[in-house]
Each structure stands twice: as structure tokens, then as C-alpha cells.
Amino acid sequence: MKKSVKATPNAPAAKSRADVRTTVVGDRLSVEIEGDLVLETVGAVHDALSAPLGRGPRGVTLKLAGLRRVDASGVAIAVRLFRFTKSQGIPFEISGIDGDRKLLIDLALRGQDPIPAPAPIAMVRAVGIAALEVWTLVADLLRFCGEVSIIALQVIRRPKLLRWSDTLSAMARHGTDAVPVVALLGLLIGAIIAFQTYDPMAKFGASLQVSDVVGISIVRELGPLITAIILAGRSGSAFAAEIGTMKVTQELDALRTFGIDPVRFLVIPRMLATVLVTPLLSVWCSILGVLGGYFVLGPKGITFLQYVFEVRNALTVGGFLQGLAKAAVFALLVSGIGCLAGLRTGQGPGAVGVSTTRAVVCGIVAIVVADSVLGAFFYALGI
């Protein structure tokens, strides 16, 4: 059977042409190719071989004596036949070429033996691997917490150990720079709460008590929560990316070889800065949230003095401190998780991205879990 193959449509300007003749002698397939075995024709030649190979020959011979041109793509036909015959355990030979063309094909065939697919991992082994990964994570987490605690105690005893300039710089980047976005979200959340609760409460004649709802929910709960979520998105991811990039570029190794502990040098300033600024941001968010509530209730006939008086009556010192404590705990979690994700960054160009994602997702999950636990704790204390 002879098949003439012209240039494939992806190369309209090409004038290449290849003729493929396949014959079966006994149970051995002979493939004779003449003309140009190049990028423009190789697709069609490849397709033309599918049917003869599908008939299960017991050996293949590739005859290339009539070849006019061959390029680095054309040799893919030899690679295909080589891999086919190897996978079937049948003989393969090439004839009719020498010199550079033979060298080209010989080079292309190096290491082309099909690699058997790895056996599927047994479920027990998969579970074991997953368990080991979890154990490594837990061990890293415990080691990190221990290291941070020890170094924090050392810093308390000898404040000179702290890099104050880095701490102040981190406070500016992760505190001051976050003021506008925290304000915007606080304002809108306060307004939304007032907007959504006004109508149902007005039915019971409790329009003024919407102020209580806004005040309590924002100051105790949503102020710290919104601030922490913004913190996870802005700062947790930034910590993971900064420290992760330093790990990939061996800057962490450089610190260690100088005898400088990366936790003291990089982690403590970031965590301290975050723990100091987050409660302040949370207060700022709460103020704006309460103000946002008034923007909805004001037009409903509630005066500013009435609103402020009602909010002040609804809030307690305990509730306010509860909000501050939550914000500090959230900050500790988000910054710790971000820094740990950075320190655990793997190798390769995608590793920093993986760490950043992990920092944000784990940070937000940790915030919500901690909020639930703290909420129950403060409730039990009667605060």
C-alpha cells in the first residue's frame, strides 16, 4: 500500500511532500518514506502509520533511502516506531541512511525505551504517606511554636536582640498601610448590618435597638474578624511570599551560616508588629463600623446623640476587651501561619505560590476556629 502525504494544513506556505509506502511481508511491516520528513509532513506520516501498526506486526523495518530532507521533527517517526516495537517486544531496524541523518536519528532514539507505568500506590501506602505528611506538619508546627516562644522570652529579657527597625517598618506596612481598606470594609459592614436588621426590628418597635445590634456585633465580633481576614489576605500572604522567596534564593541558608537565627531575624519582628497593630486596626474598624450603622439609621429618624448613647449603653468594657483580645490572638495566628508557611516553602518556581495560598487558607480557617473557641470561652466566663 502506498500513501502520498502532502504538507499538513498548519504549514500552508510549505512545499514539502512525503510519500509513505507500507507493505507487509509475512508478518513483518515495512515502512518506506520518500521525500521530506519534516515538521510540515510529519503529522500526516504519523497518522498514516496508525492503521498498519494497529494490525499487530511482528517486526518493523523503516526504509529511508528515498529521503530528501529530514529535520528534528521528522525523526519523531523513527521515535514512534522504536517505542512501538519496544513496547511490543518485536524487532525494529532502520535502513537507507548514514552520516548526519543517521546521527540525528541515533541521538533522538537515546533513552526512548518506554518506561513501565509505576504500580498504583496501594491504599495502605497512600494512607501511610498522608499520615507521615501530617506528622511532619505537626512536628514543624510544634518546633516553630517552641522556637518562637523561646526566642520571644530571650527578646523580653534582652530587648536589644529584637530588630526594632524591621519591627517598625513591618508595623507601617501591615498596620498603617491597611488603614484605608479596613476603614472601607468596616464602614460597609456596619451599614449592611443596620440595613438588614432595621426592618425586622422596626416591626417590633425596636428601631433604636438596631444600634445595639450594630455596636455589639461590630465591636465584639466583626471588627476583629474583618481585620483579621484582611490581615490574612494582606500580611499572612506577604510573610509567606517574602520568607518563601528568601528560602528559594538561599537567603535563609546565608543567615544560618552567619549564625543568625531566621526566626529571630525575620519571624519575631513580623509577629510582634502584627500583634501590636492588629488590635488598633480592629478598634479603627469598629469605630468605622458603628459609624456605618449610623449612616443607615440616621435617615430613619434616629439622631446621632440617640445612636451614640444607645451604642455606649449596649457595650461593656468586657465586650470591648474581648474584641481586643480576639484581634491579638488572630494576629498571632495569621502572622505565625504566614511565617511558618514561608519557612516550609519547598523547591521550584511554584513553591512560593503554594506557600502563599497555604498561608491565606490556613490563616482564615484558624481565625474562624479560634473565634468559635474564644466566643465559647468568653461566654463561659460571662463576659
Partner: protein, 265 residues
């Protein structure tokens, strides 16, 4: 692949011009780094471009590969003027060359096979099976067929550079640009890479434009050497590497090619 001791630079027999530069100035903003480059790069030659650090080698390469237009002058690749050309013209020119970046620039999320397959999937209508075989054959040419299913992070720096050459070869371009192919490689890997360049140049007639400081490579496989000088802001030498080393009138060129410190006369 020929062993490194069998490599002898063969001057190109066909003198057709693949890339022509006329009065080219390159730089950033309005600041020129190199001015007035006149240079013909011939089909099938291996041209090395060298010079001191920061002299504009990589900037020149960025202009040759169409990513950074020259400040002034004309660059013609395969008969097409690229200085000031429209984006679709540049796209068609980009199909005529392959590029290997200094660090390989392989896509980290893909296997080597997928890296080489990507240009085929984007620019041809081949079947998936044919694309796989083509990608495997290109990886075979650079000795990486057995590593086709690994990711770049799982192989060495030298292997990454070879994989990047395989990717540059994906569409069988007549011209390949290499940016510092030997940087950071051990001498044996570097010699293997040289052998690969010569083999591809011999077998496929591919034109290679190589940015490199590697004197061993320049002398063993370079047909010609072009030297840029960032202080004088011009192309100061062009010719056979050995002739330039032995008989160039320019002291700086001789120093460069003989690795002589500036303190020595």
C-alpha cells in the same frame, strides 16, 4: 553525539544572510548602551556575542528576539524588518527562531515533555500522539528522553538548559538564540552542551547566536565572535575567535580573549 574532542568549528558554506543589523543602537529609554551596530549573521553559522559585564549583550539579544525594539537602526530577520514592525509581523518572525534563556525559563508546573509540547500544541494541528512523539524526539536529541515525565525542579541545571534547547527546537526554527548557555555549568556539562550545539548545527543547519563569556566554547565551536564594548558603546571586533585573539589591533579584545588582567601589559 560527537565527543568534545571531535568538535572543530566549520565555517558556514552558505553565506546567505539570516539576520542583518544596520546602524542599530540599543539601550533603555533614550540612553544608548551600544550604538551603530552593523552586523550580518549568516545562515548556518555559530556566532558568539561577548563583551564585558553590563556591555549590552543581553539587551542586544532582546532586540534580536523582538522583545525590545532597537532605539534606532534596522534589524532584518529572514527578510522581514522587525524595527518598528506591527505585533502580528513580530509574531510571524518569532516562529522563525527559538530562544534559550540563561536560567532555562522552563515552565515549572509542566513536565519536560509538556514544556516541549506547548509550542506544538499552540502552533500546529498535529494529533496529540504525534505531538508527544515530536516532543520525545526533541528531548532525545538533547539526551533527556528518559526524563520526559520529570518536572524542571527534579533535574539539574545543565539538564534544564538542555531541555530549554529542546523546547527552542520544538518548531524546528532555522535560528536559535542562546543566552549564556554555559553559565554555572561544570566543564564536562558545558562541553556536552557545546557538542550538542555543533551536532544540531551540522545536522540541521541551524543558525546559532550565542551570548557567552565562555572562552573555551567560543574557541572550540564559534565560527565567528562579535565583541561589544560598553565604554566605547560600539561593536569593537568581529571575526574568527582565534584570529581576533592572535592578531586583533584592539588591546581590549586581545585581553578579553586571552583572559589577561587589566594590570598586565
Amino acid at each position: 553525539m560527537p565527543s568534545s574532542d571531535t568538535i572543530h568549528p566549520t565555517p558556514p558554506s552558505d553565506r546567505k544572510v539570516a539576520i542583518a543589523l544596520r546602524g542599530v543602537s540599543i539601550g533603555y529609554g533614550s540612553r544608548a548602551i551600544i550604538e551603530g551596530i552593523d552586523l550580518d549573521i549568516f545562515e548556518g553559522e555559530i556566532l558568539f556575542i561577548g563583551g564585558g559585564s553590563g556591555c549590552g549583550k543581553t539587551t542586544l539579544l532582546s532586540s534580536l528576539n523582538t522583545l525590545r525594539p532597537p532605539l534606532t537602526g534596522s534589524i532584518v530577520i529572514d527578510g522581514i524588518e522587525i524595527a518598528g514592525a506591527a505585533e502580528d509581523t513580530l509574531q510571524s518572525v518569532r516562529r522563525r527562531f527559538g530562544m534559550m534563556y540563561q536560567l532555562g525559563a522552563l515552565f515549572g508546573g509542566m513536565t519536560l515533555l509538556e514544556n516541549v509540547r506547548l509550542p506544538l500544541a499552540e502552533f500546529t494541528t498535529l494529533s496529540p500522539a504525534a505531538m508527544d512523539d515530536l516532543a520525545r524526539s526533541k528531548l532525545g536529541l538533547v539526551g533527556l528522553a528518559a526524563h520526559a515525565d520529570k518536572k524542571p525542579s527534579e533535574i539539574s541545571g545543565g539538564m534544564q538548559k538542555r531541555a530549554a534547547i529542546a523546547r527552542a527546537l520544538a518548531l524546528d526554527p532555522p535560528i536559535i538564540f542562546l543566552d549564556e548557555p554555559s553559565a554555572g555549568l561544570d566543564p564536562v556539562t558545558s562541553a556536552d552542551l557545546d557538542a550538542l550545539i555543533v551536532a544540531l548545527n551540522h545536522m540541521l543547519g541551524t543558525t546559532f547566536v550565542v551570548i557567552s563569556h565562555e572562552l573555551a566554547s567560543i574557541f572550540s565551536i564559534g565560527h565567528r565572535f562579535a565583541m561589544l564594548d560598553g565604554v566605547r558603546k560600539r561593536l569593537v571586533a568581529l571575526g574568527s575567535p582565534t584570529q581576533l585573539r592572535d592578531s586583533s589591533d584592539d588591546v581590549w579584545v586581545r585581553r578579553f580573549l586571552t583572559r589577561t588582567p587589566t594590570g598586565d601589559s
